[in-house]
Symmetry: C2
Subunit: 245 residues, 2 copies
């Protein structure tokens, strides 16, 4: 790509969430090593916007270029514009290697995405040397202000989950009630009583029990469920009444 | 201000809501006339961001410069980045008169604000010739993509009101139940039955009845209420459970 087509002042960054039935993770890239004396940093997948590209298109393109992911639902959530957000000395060496105007102020539009971890196998390319999932409770120091962006992304997910149940896309198509409870607990950061949780969630009528059970587990296999999409849409529509469990 | 300090690619725009107990309004500016053959356009208050200024600071400064409003709670809600959003031929003449790079792509960070209309008297200055309140149901064709931004601002207010009751700042400190019902109806765009509305809202315990009644009205004066702020905070906190009426 011709770097002349890149807007030096505006970028996009993506907070991609994945759930492995146990932990909530975000997708990070590790920068290509510049020289042996500098330890490569990790960062959210992100890059400058092309001059003639919409922001949504930029987010899709950049995520695809760096991680191979495609066909993912991305949602803009906040724009970060601290004048010094890319001026920390720790970020300078890297910016100098791949930005035409490393001194330019960069305002970044942050997106979040929810992916079913089993359906996607990210692969590093472009200036990403490696791409990996990282537990949200164990995020290393990231480049630029990316720790802040990741934290705000999580806060947004929590709010949207509470208000509109956005977050169920993280589950596989068929899941157990334990997995669903775990998702509630990890997004909302609190524990639920197992019996109460099951009673409440089943009363809502958003789940359809299947005749199938879990396979390949050591414990007694649990029943699988899937979402009753029509009911769920009623419950989660932006114009409907939000419902809290 | 030295225009050299302005970032040519990034602006802020403000959707300021005001409620007059009857209608929901937004604040518009009318551009200074360029020449007699061109009818001045209306627009949302907005302008380019200074190179060394945060986005929140820019929104406050720009709103103050154009309308005199200050001390207002502004909240970022969405960034608009269609590559052609400031290239419509209708906007060219005006851009040429006051922008150093009228051809530059401009990405704008949109804010919304809620003001008690009685507490603020906006006054036009800078490149605003006139500033006025406009009923949301009667917005004229605006400059750039400002009709879209205003519509998305309204959608955001509606969503946040449903999920977190953000919107009560639009009411005066003391209000009648009719005014409160009217606010619900206009933001959510639907009618409520008067008796049911009163029953439900009083049951929530977020209102404190005052010993005062309305003054200067021709009909029988209604009792005034104010918010029970502690209860309201419980109900509206972002981390609490959203509640729908």
């Amino acid at each position: 790509m011709n770097s002349k087509n890149l807007n030096p002042n505006v970028s996009v960054d993506c907070v991609v969430f994945g759930f492995d039935n146990e932990k909530l993770n975000i997708l990070l890239i590790e920068q290509k090593p510049i020289n042996p004396s500098i330890k490569p940093q990790s960062a959210l997948p992100g890059d400058l916007v092309l001059e003639e590209e919409s922001l949504d298109d930029a987010a899709c393109r950049v995520l695809h270029e760096l991680t191979g992911l495609t066909g993912i639902y991305l949602r803009q959530f906040k724009t970060f514009g601290d004048p010094n957000r890319v001026r920390d000395v720790k970020d300078l060496a890297w910016l100098q290697t791949y930005r035409e105007y490393p001194q330019a102020r960069v305002i970044t539009i942050a997106y979040y995405a929810l992916v079913k971890m089993n359906d996607f196998s990210p692969e590093a390319s472009s200036f990403a040397d490696r791409v990996y999932w990282c537990d949200i409770h164990n995020i290393p120091p990231l480049a630029f202000d990316h720790n802040l962006i990741a934290a705000e992304g999580l806060l947004t997910l929590r709010r949207e989950f509470e208000a509109h149940r956005i977050g169920f896309e993280l589950l596989p198509k068929k899941f157990t009630l334990s997995h669903l409870q775990r998702l509630y607990e990890i997004i909302l950061d609190r524990k639920f009583d197992k019996r109460n949780f099951r009673k409440k969630i089943l009363r809502e009528n958003i789940l359809t029990p299947l005749m199938e059970k879990q396979q390949g587990v050591y414990h007694k296999p649990a029943r699988l469920y899937q979402f009753n999409l029509e009911e769920l849409q009623e419950h989660t529509a932006f114009n409907g009444n939000p419902i809290a469990i």
